[in-house]
Symmetry: C2
């Protein structure tokens, strides 16, 4: 199976994934979004595993909710040494270069990966390791925050292959990397 690294994320209209204080309450500016299917279940049914950074992992833990992921989750971290007891067998710590980490995951037979977390996504993009980005735009202008996209030394060409408006309010655009 061909390895694929995909992103499925929500941003504000001005491209932020968190507000000026790191908060994500604005994701509920359009609360009806929680009543509809914006393709998340379908997306996650088509991936083999998830890879996220430590910050995102700790943010999810801080929610104090039941562990929300069905697929194996790999957490990139140089500092964590163990996972909480209740997440053993569900969460795996990895470190090394991104290519080494990917090799480790691929060696387990897991190829279609959901890449999550701002810093992790930016690291993958810097090395041109993202194949697909599905962005759901919550149409709020936050006016500042943590950007989804970061600095790149070389530009990267994608193509928007589909777009869907939900509730006459929210738009989801799907971009795939154009490799020539």
């Amino acid at each position: 199976m061909e390895p694929k690294n995909k992103v499925f994320i929500a941003t504000s209209l001005d491209g932020y994934i968190a507000d000026k204080n790191g908060g994500i309450a604005w994701l509920d500016d359009i609360p009806e979004i929680n009543t509809i299917d914006t393709g998340y279940e379908t997306f996650t049914s088509q991936i083999d595993a998830m890879l996220m950074g430590r910050t995102t992992f700790e943010t999810v833990l801080s929610f104090g909710i039941e562990w929300p992921y069905k697929k194996p989750v790999f957490v990139l971290s140089r500092t964590l040494t163990k996972v909480p007891q209740n997440l053993k067998g569900k969460v795996f710590l990895v470190n090394g270069t991104l290519k080494e980490v990917l090799q480790t995951i691929h060696n387990k037979g897991l190829y279609r990966l959901y890449i999550d977390g701002g810093k992790t996504i930016q690291s993958f993009l810097k090395q041109d390791l993202i194949d697909e980005i599905i962005i759901t735009i919550i149409p709020t202008l936050l006016g500042g925050g943590l950007s989804l996209f970061g600095e790149l030394s070389e530009k990267l060409q994608f193509e928007c292959v589909s777009s869907k408006v939900y509730l006459d309010k929210i738009v989801q655009n799907r971009f795939v990397r154009k490799k020539v």
Copy 2:
């Protein structure tokens, strides 16, 4: 007629309107875009006048092309004192607060305005004076440049009312300000 201030602009996938060097050559990364109608003619047929900043005005002049606008163009500037001879009757200099400038233009019977230029758009958004934003995303990640959106002290809620994919590559999302 109810005044409306609208934006019609292209950005990169990462939200820039110009690259790190201020250039816009990346707009041609998908050259086929120049062969199709992405609604610009329809949009401009529905506005009464254009309002842009001095920088955008001087950029357009620097192209050395025939003046491209059919509608009256108002140029916001505190420093320009006259317009080129060949643009008299087509270009008008204005200055003052944005509300004063809008009043000046409305007093001429011109209400539906196309607001253009990065700094000008940001100034209008800071004062919540934009009613509609049509963004055509050229799906290049530039990795740096001049952002369309800037800092805001208060967040602003828009709604995406329509979206269209062109050439299976480019997407145009239309956002309208939600006023409650």
